[in-house]
Structure formats: C-alpha cells, structure tokens
Amino acid sequence: MRLNRQKIAPYVFISPFFIVFAAFMVFPLGFSIFLSFHKWSGMGGIKTAQFAGLQHFSFLLFKDVYFWKTIGITIWLLIFGSFTQHLFAIPLAIVLNSKLIRGRDIFRTAYFLPVITSAVSVAIIFQNVFNMKYGLLNYITGIFGVAPVDWINWSWSIPIAIAIVINWRWIGWNTLIYLAGLQAIPNELYESADIDGASLITKHVNITIPMLLPIIFFAVTMSIIGGMQIFDEPFVLTQGYLWMGGANNAGFTAAFYILWSLQRAGKYGRGSAIAWLLFLLVLIMTFINRAITNYYKGDNRGIKRVTAKKDKAIDIGPQMNLH
C-alpha cells in the first residue's frame, strides 16, 4: 500500500500543472482546431456546429476580401512597429550598459515603464498626442511648417500612428533583454580589442553584435510572435470594432480580424481558421529568422567575415564560439 502511495505521490504533486495545462492550453488549442473545420455562431451550444471541412481555409485564402489585407497591414506593422524596436533597443542597451552613465537604474525603470502600462491607457494618451487640432505631435511638426495630420483617421497615417505607439511601448522591453545579453559578454574581449586599438564602433560591430546574435534571435522571434498578434493598440486607437480599423481598414490587423469575426460577425469557425493560418505564418517567419541567425553565427562564419572585412587587427580567437 505504501509502495503505491509512493508511486502515486509524484503524480499528485505534478498534477496541478497538467490539469491547468490541459484546461487552458490543450483544450483551447484542440477546440480551436475543431472549430476551424466547423461553422459555429457561438450561440445555442456547440451542438449547433456544422462540419465545414476546409471551407474556411479556402475562403480565407482565395475569396475573402479582408484576410490578405489584414495580413499585409500586420506585416507592415511588424516591420515598422516591431523590427524597428531593435534598431533603437540595441544602441540604448549599449548606452545603459556603459559604466560612464550615472543613474542607470533610473533609466532602466523609465524605459520599462511603458511595458507595464496598460495598452488602453497608452492608447488613450496617444489619442491626445495624435489629435489633429490639439495634439502634441502636430504641434511639433507644425513648428517646422508641416500641415496638421489627422493621425488616427486618415488611412495613410493610421499605420504610422500605431507603429509609433508599438515602438514606444516595447523598446524598453527589448532594451532590457539586450542589456541582460550584454552583461554576459566577457569583458576580456573588449580589453583585448582596446589593446589592439579598436575604435568604439569597431568593438560593437565586431564583438557586441556577434556575441548578441542568440539574444537578437530570441528578441526578434518574440517580436514576430507579438507583432503578428498585435491587437490592443490598433483596436483602441481606431475606436474598437465599430470602424474596423478606420478608413480603408488601415488599422485592421489579423488579430483584430479574428476578434471581429468572433465578437461581431459571430463566425467562430472562420475566426479559428484565421488564427491557425496566422500561426503557420508565424512559424514560417520564425524558421526564416532562425536560418538567418544561424547563417551569421554558424561556425563563427559571420564573425570572421565581419572581422576580416572591417578590422583585420582584431583576432577574436577560438573562444568566440556562439553555439
């Protein structure tokens, strides 16, 4: 009997995880796969779901007026809202990592604040910033003689406004990730580069960036996942479901389309199918990201090539194995 108890005990202890995992991960995933092959309005119980085969997928890929449009908008925002964060975050992290900067903790906190601020609050604040008549942004651009722009109403400016908010909100997050990565780079590398007389730029190009490649891969992957699911900012900035992302659906992202399909159109099957197509797209992008990262870090090829091209004086030696 005791033996049985001993056998069972570990399973009892780890069961909360499996129960939670099954209830909140496995079931919703399985249910959404089920729904993507069915027509269901969400009302009247699941018994009313009708099998639809691949109808939703073929409709979305070949007939739907919104699917590719929303994917295009999402990818645009991924490039100018999510990828651009890294162009700011890496230099910022390098500056914050510098011993010359005083009060680094204050800056770190300040950069991280937008991340922990709710998207709705952020969007409301930015609605005022982007206001055509009284907004801060038009005031600043007005100083340079630029005519006022209706940032959150004109179709060409809506994606720009959303991208600005996304950048503002998430640069701090990436900065902290890169900061953690920078602190793991051995200082000896920089010291040897100093002895060889390398300039600041050369050191960062030939040491910092190559050493950060795994972190960059991680951060970019997270950006792809987050960017392809972007919903809060466009939803709030363009006033919710009612306007479907504003003029010409300029802020109607793929995730927005999923939620609209469920909440407004009552098409749970179609919404689930969009989610799975989006998942496939994220998967493909992540593989591409990994291939690119591997190309640069594989066998130190990238580092050696960059080193050879830019600063032959630095010999980074065999310790630069980034795997």
Binding site: G45, V65, M132, L242, M244, A247, G266
Partner: protein, 422 residues
C-alpha cells in the same frame, strides 16, 4: 367528523397553495445576478430601492454586474458561447438582439411557463417583433426604447439668432450649422462647432441602424437611402461644421460641457447622460426638437432576457424580475426619470408625467416629443448580419469623410464586403 375536518383542512391548504402559487415565486428568498451596461445600473438600482419592488420581491437579493457598452456585450457573447458564466438575467442592446434571435442562447419567453407574448402585449410592437424568431420564439422583452431627437443649446441659438426648431431638412441643418460654427475669441481658430462628428448623424436617417440593412437579402438596399447617408456625412465634413471628435472619447464628452459643440443628434437617453454627469451645469440651457424633416427613428434601446444557462431553479424568479422591469408602469417610469431611458411600455406613454415640464430642459415639455416619436418608430426587419453591415458601412463613412473616397465607390466597396462576409 374527523374525516370531514381532515378533508376540509386539506382542501383549504390546497386552495391556499394554488391561489398563492404564482405569487410565491416573487416572495422566494433567492439571489439573482443581472448583467447591465451603461447607466442601466443606476436606473435599476432606483427601481430596486422603490417600495413597489420591495413589496413585490421582499426577499430577493438582486446583484448587478455592470460594465461599459462594449465590455458588457463582449462578455455576454463570450459567456453565451461558452455556455457558462452569464448572469441569471441579462440586459442587451437592440443592436445585439438579432444575433440571439437567429442563433439562440436565450430562454424562449413565449413558452407556456412564461407566456411572454401575452405579458408583452403592451410593449412597443417593433421591439417585440425584433425579439421574435421566425418560428415564434421570444428571446427577450424590450425594456426601453430610444426616440432619436435633436439636442441644441438655447442660449447659443438666441445669441447668434439662429432658429433651431422645426428644421425641415439636413441641408437646412448644415446651413444653420455653419452659422453656429464660429471663432468666438477671434484668434483665428474655430472654437465652437455645430456637431461632434458626421458619424454621430449617420444612423439617424437609417432608423438608428437598428434593422433595415437588407432588402430581399441584398445588403444596403435601397441604394438611394444608404448613398444619401454617405452624401450627408460628406457634406457635413465639407461644410466644416463638425469638430471631428471621436464618439465617447474624452474630448467628445467634454465638448458639450465646455460649449465646444452646441447641437447633437441622439436617443433621448443622451439627455440623461447630460443631466447626470456630462454637463449638469448646463441645466436649463439644453432644448430638444425633432430631427430634421421630423424623422421618426430609434437610436438605441434595450432588452432584458434570461440566458438558457440560467438554472431552472432561478428562471421563474428571473422571469418575474424581467416582467417587472419591462411591464410594471412604476418600474418603467422610475427608469425613465432616472436615466431618460424612454419606456417600452405603451400604456405609460400617456401618463401625466409625459406632459410635465422638465427642469433640465428649461421647463420644455420634451417628453411629449419623445412620446410622439416613440409612437411612430417604424418596424424594420433585423437580420443576423446586421452587426457586419453596421461595421462595414461605418467603415465606408470613414472612407468618405476622412479619406475623401467618392460616395459611389465607397458604397460599392461596402456592398461587396458585406456580401463577402455573409
């Protein structure tokens, strides 16, 4: 003798039981939850605190779960889909009724247990019609309706000498709007507008957007009606009489209080918001008139229904509460007085309260206007695709107003998109 006594006692007890059967439900000690949105909580709290309600439901504990319009309906749709979590009684806006009518999720109130059609015989016809499925099931009862009216500031109208009563057409309104849109302090910047946004007008000629989006399954027909709305929005923007404030944004709300916007089209309920929190300081200055051309339209309205998932034990009491809120004259009038949510119960339309002057509107007998419009709101067919049509048409308005897309092109695109989503 003993046997006779026993028979008499049994007969008496049985008689008492049967006689008081229907009343017993309302006397039960029970807790009910009710989901509400906007300012319905304050209205129903006032009803709950009334003597009539306490007398009718002495042991009932009624708890409200209140949230904003969008949050409430998103929650409700999700919980109905999940089959759990909804409140015992739920309020829903007219724009959502078609979906539940078509797809279910709410208890059929026309069943013998409730006899909802009989109970709702004095409720507005269009409200009952919209809540009834093609096979005769009644999913909810209309609790309030929203006659669409024109609000304007009397002092501004007087100061500028612009007569704002009896406006005969939208073109006339736009012309008068130009006179109201001014630079008050002479700094070269307009600081007083006639209107918040063209979108706030767009649904008035479409009976508030509550039904009528399809004709023989063809969306946005008759075309003239919908193109006319796009043209109207375009004209308003081109006339420069709107402040371009998005609906219910901070600036939209403040614009009334601060006198930046001086006229508005909406349901009668907006007056309740004005009075209670948006601009109580402007008491006595707001006035009400018919919409241009004396259009009779609905601009909102609420229903009360009982989700199917409500337990059988609670349904009878849930029904009693629903019935009370929708068909009890006192409850209807308390709701009206608290939030200006106009009664759905036709029998109170001629209540003396309707011809009383209302202090907030400078003593104007505004309720007579509400009453007249309420009596004449047209019945329009609702469809399960209404929400899709509303959103896509709104997007077309955005395209015309904000992006300058020609009306014909925007109309054609919207029609194609609605068909695509059906």
């Amino acid at each position: 003798m003993k046997r006779l006594c026993l028979v008499l006692i049994i007969a008496f007890l049985a008689g008492t039981l049967f006689a008081s059967g229907p009343q017993d439900v309302s006397k039960q000690e029970i807790t009910l939850t009710m989901g509400v949105f906007g300012d319905l909580e304050s209205a129903y709290t006032a009803v709950k605190d009334s003597d009539g309600f306490k007398q009718k439901f002495p042991k009932l504990t009624l708890q409200f779960q209140s949230s904003d319009f969008g949050g409430h309906h998103d929650r409700l749709v999700t919980q109905i889909a999940a089959g759990v979590g909804a409140n015992d009684v739920e309020a829903l806006e007219i724009g959502y009724i078609a979906r539940f009518v078509r797809e279910g999720g709410f208890t059929n109130l026309s069943a013998d247990l409730f006899k909802g059609k009989q109970v709702g015989k004095d409720l507005v016809k269009f409200g009952m019609s919209n809540a009834t499925t093609t096979d005769g099931k009644l999913v909810a009862l209309p609790v309030d309706i929203a006659p669409a009216v024109f609000f304007y500031r009397k002092s501004v109208s007087d100061d500028l000498g612009v007569e704002l009563t009896g406006i005969a057409s939208w073109d006339e309104y736009i012309e008068k709007g130009k006179q109201l849109t001014i630079d008050k302090d002479g700094d070269g910047v307009i600081d007083q507008y006639a209107l918040t946004n063209p979108n706030d007008v767009s649904m008035i000629p479409l009976n508030g957007g509550k039904g009528g989006w399809f004709q023989n399954n063809e969306p946005l027909e008759p075309a003239k009606r919908f193109k006319g709305v796009l043209e109207l929005c375009k004209k308003i923007r081109e006339a420069g009489i709107d402040a371009n404030f998005p609906g219910w944004s901070g600036e939209w709300i403040n614009s009334f209080k601060e006198g930046i916007v001086v006229t508005m089209f909406s349901g009668a309920w907006l007056g309740g918001h004005f009075k209670n929190w948006m601009c109580p300081d402007l008491a006595g200055d707001w006035r009400v008139d018919y919409c241009p051309g004396k259009v009779f339209a609905s601009y909102g309205g609420s229903y009360i229904g009982i989700p199917e998932q409500t337990s059988a034990e609670k349904k009878p009491m849930a029904w009693e509460v629903t019935k009370y809120l929708c068909t009890n004259p006192d409850a209807q009038l308390i709701t009206f007085k608290t939030t200006d949510a106009f009664p759905a119960l036709v029998t109170v339309f001629d209540d003396p309260i309707m011809s009383e002057p209302v202090e907030y509107y400078g003593g104007q007998k505004v309720r007579l206007i509400f009453q007249d419009i309420g009596k004449n709101i047209p019945v329009q067919n609702v469809s399960e695709y209404d929400a899709i049509a509303v959103d896509i048409f709104n997007n077309a308005i955005k395209a015309v107003v904000d992006d300058g897309v020609p009306v014909d092109e925007a109309y054609k695109t919207a029609k194609t998109e609605i068909k695509n989503q059906m």
